[in-house]
Symmetry: C2
Subunit: 111 residues, 2 copies
Amino acid sequence: MIPEIKQPVEEVVTTEQVIKKAVEVICGKWRLVIIHLLREKTLRYGEIKRAVPGISEKVLVHELKQLVELGMVNKQSFGEVPPRVEYSLNEKGRSILPVIDLLLEVGQTFM
Amino acid sequence: MIPEIKQPVEEVVTTEQVIKKAVEVICGKWRLVIIHLLREKTLRYGEIKRAVPGISEKVLVHELKQLVELGMVNKQSFGEVPPRVEYSLNEKGRSILPVIDLLLEVGQTFM
């Protein structure tokens, strides 16, 4: 039996996969907020924490870990006492900035 | 006592609110997939269901309801037997399309 050709459906599936991956990357209550915060400069853990007062310690640690794992943020630890840990946006992380800019425009109409 | 002026912090909070609203609007495993599907034309419930085979009936009904409540999708019911229900993207829903286009670009680099 010759399989039915489902060209349009296959196209939808591929696009669907990319959309779902993008959603996975940018979604999460705090993810874009943290990326936006890091756009100007490298920040220490404490600076991020102070800039996002609504986030719990546990969630912030988890979010930063995920951003590092997704390859968007670089973490640098310095062997100092007290410990100094800095986070910066790398090239992959910067690729999200145009999305944030567009969302800031679009988001206004939903406020 | 004169309250301390916290200009930069206030700016961050506002931007944060807009980002969080935008995330609320676009996030969800299926939301952008459904919006993308409706970009070309109005679709009947069954057509949407067939185009997104991975979604359960319950989740699809819920997602469509939310899209209508958020003001992005218009639902039109026709008094026919069997019942005919059609969904179309309105202007507010269309404002999300540039976000999808950008995410399709950015998403590729994360595949």
